[in-house]
Amino acid sequence: MFSKVEVAFRSLLSCLQVIKMYGSSHPMFQKSLDSLALAFDEALALHPEIVIGIIGEELAFEKDILFELGKFLRPAILYLKDRNIERFAFSRGLNKEELRIFIDFLARPKEDFKGDSQVLFNLAGVEHISVGKLKIDGETGSKNVSKVKRINLYDSSAEKIGLALNGVLNSEKIDHLALKFSLSNIMESLSVQHHEMLRLATVKRYDVETYAHMLNVAIFSMYFSSRLGFDKANVLNIGMAAMFHDIGKLFISRKLLHKSEKLTDQEFGRIKSHTFLGAEMMLRYVDTLGILPVVISFEHHLKYDSTGYPRLPLLRKQHIASSIVAICDVYDALSQRRGYKQDYSPDVVYGIMEKDRGTAFEPELFDRFFRFIGFWPIGAVVALSDGSIALVREQNESEIRRPIVEIVSPIEKKRKVDLIKDYSLNIERYLNPWKEGKEYLALEQ
């Protein structure tokens, strides 16, 4: 079923090449158009609507990013992106004439792509094709994304997550392509400049953003899974699923927190059942988001030794993706300032989590997480043993407590120090970025 869509898209790009080469009056084009129409007939017989998105340099259809197809068609994808086309939707009823107009339009020189393409289509009588940009800020994962752009990317992604989570909470259709686009950009940024993105996740949690936790868990999970060697598609899927891991809790809290009366025992029980509920909610989105959000929503409190919840007789051992998200969830939650608790310093966070190593967390996975993320996270403000203040810049995976830091105060001492090469210095303590660390944090920006 899936391959029919691939065939249709391949035919579309091949038809585009033929028209560029032979022109629209050449019989070769007619032939190619015939095959294209046939391919779409077959694909649309299986799907009432086919929406294909260009995410980064990849193609996306429903819940999958077509990494393999994207690899073969990259020049053509870039050609389309160049013309501001990032999303196509084809619906049933599509005819050959509409395809001809569409291909003819695509083959025009780049300079002709001004104004609203959709309006042009409508004027030309094309009713079953729509094209456009994905509704995001136009950020790409290009290697030269500036720091400011990355912050924007983070903020816009948090906003996108907010929209998506609200969509799910209201059982509405969500723009999964736009969401994937955001996460794909973050994934690209992680591969190019992971320091920057991790730093944002560390620092941004201090903003009281409702959905920052979800985004942070997604960022940490993607980084962690990519460092574990998972392939791109799985990393992206884990990121997507991580964003929805607590959807059940959001749903319950939204309903119950607004209740003025005392909660009943049943209502308390419901709060605990947020994993079950979340999975049930995500079940409605399997078509577009895949099965991982269901599994992670359900399993993220299950624990490595299966002593968590939900405790149901039919359950299996936690999947590694759920274990990854569980670690990142706890890590970010402990690090975050919340209404009911102070934010903990990284050493305290590590200490708390280490107690659960081997019970809640798979030991090997736990060790690797801190090897990759670091004991002192990137961007943390720390006081060194000589009284100077430094920012953590890079991790040393062989010794997680001794990262590479940059001394920022006093200014005359400003330099980078690799703490596994210089044992005369130690990290004494962490400076809370809301209190004594605040002024140094500004130096980071």
């Binding site: 091949s14 090449q17 080469m21 070769m28 073969f72 399997v286 099965i291 299996r316 590694i320 090997e364």
Partner: protein, 639 residues
């Protein structure tokens, strides 16, 4: 003359003129003559077709929007013109012999020369020809679009880029190199000597100018080779070796890593191919570079997919001809990494967990809407669970559905029906493996009519045991219909033979009844098959078998006795049937002698008493009988 004929003659003249243009100089009389002839044919054609415009693709010629078909003739001509970057030719009336001479002189130039000069029009531009318009292909458009149609000329494009020694051009081709090669098959690459040579020259040139792109292109050509490994024979491979001439041992080290990383199916053949293309270089040095590269920059433990590939590779190559150098290097690389120590994203486990979560939802939910949702999702999992051989899950699912059915949960009652119909459909229309047979028990009621089953049983070229089992399970009350159909097949020896064999494969009480039915109506050969099958059944029907002992057939009696010997309680009845026979004047003595032979062959020692009786029979006509009985008793030492 009809238009088709006129057109055919026009193209024949075109072909002839091109051939003479290839062979003779511009002023040679033969060439001039053929041009003059072509001019005449053109004029004839223009009378019926004006303007005369010929479209050209890599394999076709087109006139007036229609492809011309005449076997290889047009194809060959199209290919020849396409290779010269010609997209279409338009000839208008008034084309002079001089113009045509000029035109043919240019298009008959070697392809390389045309490409080098920038195309046909660039050459023709110097000499004006007003009545012939040549439209050319723009390969730079190809480059942008990554079209597959340029695979036939990209060898030249590589060469051209090298000869121009232009960095921009080289980079442009290098950027599109992957797309070119992706669209090429082994014939495009190693069909001749030229392309491997061009790639080699291109890589050599790129190596000096842009190492990063050199690495990229080398990787792309290597990955192409790996993907085509099954269609490359020794001869093709030796041509391909040339492609990698410019690579040093450190480049090969990188290539090996690239292969492991990027190629999902990097197996023993892949490694053997790698050894072959790099055999001119020092293998231990390549292996050492590869080892150091990974140890320095890659934490292999964090690349579970690669570790798994290496483990599979080593597992598969034990005892093969694989170079010991690579074998040992790979082995040392994964030393200390146990398969369980590798963190991998297990898709199978993900599916398993997902299915059990949905199962939990069916199990612990009371909300009707949610139950319906879970049931709908679960229905989609039937096929993939079966495909994944998730038998434990299917059993749990079935158990749960029966439980929930008892509780009267509508969504589960409906789902159980669908599950039953799903299995029924597999049995009827696909096939079940032996280990999947337990599924038959999960079909609770038929979704298909009885005739569908009967048609499958009696009309299919091969009898499907599972259909038969399911039929007996689901339609025990309708056996008369079954026997009616069976009666119609009693003359079909081949069917009966196969049918009996299939019945022997399952030990159901009902199969015994059918075997007896067939036995009573079939010929001796089929009867013998039936008996063979009955012998293997757990239970025998001794009353039926004893009843068959009065047959004249020695073989049948012997086989019947052989089965009956397994049931001691029927001994008396058997012996009575064999020996308590009146034989006035020895009329039945042959029969008795045969029966003696049967008990002797079967070592049916319980027959001693009967044999003694026979050994005492009086009268001369019983002499043989007495002697044979005594002989057997003597053999058994009971005389």
């Amino acid at each position: 003359m009809n238009n088709e004929k006129i057109l055919e003659e026009f193209f024949q003249a075109l072909r002839v003129t091109l051939t003479t243009a290839f062979s003779y100089s511009k002023d040679h009389p033969y060439f001039i003559k053929s041009v003059e002839n072509f001019k005449l044919k053109t004029e004839d054609t223009l009378l019926v077709l004006s303007p005369l415009k010929v479209g050209i693709t890599s394999s076709e010629l087109m006139v007036n929007g229609e492809s011309l078909t005449k076997g290889g003739f047009y194809n060959e001509l199209a290919h020849l013109l396409h290779q010269r970057k010609i997209k279409s030719i338009e000839i208008t009336s008034g084309a002079s012999v001089e113009e045509l001479v000029q035109f043919f002189s240019v298009i008959s130039l070697p392809q390389k020369e045309i490409l080098k000069a920038g195309g046909v029009n660039a050459i023709l531009g110097k000499d004006k020809i007003a009545n012939i318009v040549v439209d050319e292909l723009d390969y730079s458009v190809f480059l942008q679009g990554g079209g597959k149609e340029c695979t036939d000329i990209w060898g030249y494009m590589l060469k051209d880029a090298v000869q121009r020694n232009d960095s921009v051009k080289l980079n442009e081709v290098a950027d599109n190199f992957g797309t070119f090669i992706e669209h090429s098959n082994e014939n495009d690459i190693v069909g001749g000597e030229e392309v491997p040579e061009s790639i080699n020259e291109f890589l050599t040139c790129l190596k000096d100018k842009n190492k990063e792109k050199f690495d990229k292109c080398s990787r792309e050509v290597f990955l192409w080779l790996l993907r085509n490994k099954n269609s490359l024979d020794e001869e093709k491979l030796s041509k391909l070796k040339l492609v990698f001439n410019s690579l040093e041992h450190e480049d090969f080290s990188t290539l090996l890593w690239d292969g492991l990383i990027h190629e999902d199916n990097f197996d023993a053949i892949s490694l053997q191919l790698f050894s072959k293309i790099s055999e001119q270089k020092n293998a231990p040095k390549i292996a050492e570079g590869f080892f150091n590269k990974i140890n320095q920059s890659q934490n292999l433990k964090d690349n579970p997919n690669v570790v798994k590939k290496i483990q599979d590779l080593l597992g598969a190559t034990q005892g093969t001809q694989l170079s010991a150098v690579y074998y040992n290097t790979l082995k040392s690389l994964i030393k200390g990494i146990s398969p369980s120590g590798v963190m991998a994203f297990d898709q199978e486990k993900l599916k398993e967990n997902y299915r059990y979560i949905v199962l939990s939802m069916l199990s612990f939910n009371d909300d009707e809407d949610n139950l319906k949702l879970a049931a709908g999702i679960m229905e989609l999992e039937f096929a993939s669970a079966l495909e994944d051989n998730a038998f434990g899950f299917l059993k749990d699912l079935h158990r749960l559905l029966l439980e929930r059915k008892k509780e009267g949960i509508a969504a589960c009652i409906d789902l159980e029906k669908k599950f039953s119909a799903f299995i029924e459909d597999i049995v009827l229309n696909k096939s079940l493996a032996v280990e999947q047979e337990f599924l038959i028990e999960m079909v609770s009621s038929p979704a298909q009519e009885i005739d569908v089953y009967l048609d499958r049983i009696f009309n299919d070229p091969e009898i499907n045991r599972h259909v038969l089992i399911l039929f007996f399970r689901l339609f025990p009350e309708n056996l008369e219909l079954f026997y009616q159909r069976l009666a119609q097949k009693l003359q079909d020896m081949e069917f009966l033979h196969n049918f009996v064999l299939v019945l022997g494969q399952f030990d159901a009480p009902i199969s015994l009844g059918i075997l007896e039915y067939i036995y009573s109506l079939a010929n001796e050969l089929v009867k013998l098959e039936v008996l063979k099958v009955m012998r293997k059944l757990e239970k025998i029907d001794s009353v039926f078998l004893v009843g068959q002992l009065n047959t004249d057939s020695f073989l049948l009696r012997k086989n019947l006795c052989s089965i009956l010997s397994l049931a001691a309680q029927s001994n008396d009845a058997v012996l009575n049937s064999l020996f308590e026979i009146r034989s006035p004047f020895g009329r039945k003595n042959v029969f008795l002698l045969e029966n003696m032979q049967i008990v002797f062959d079967l070592k049916f020692i319980e027959a001693v008493k009967n044999l003694r009786n026979l050994s005492h029979r009086r009268f001369f006509w019983n002499r043989k009988l007495r002697n044979r009985a005594k002989q057997i008793l003597k053999e058994w030492n009971v005389l």
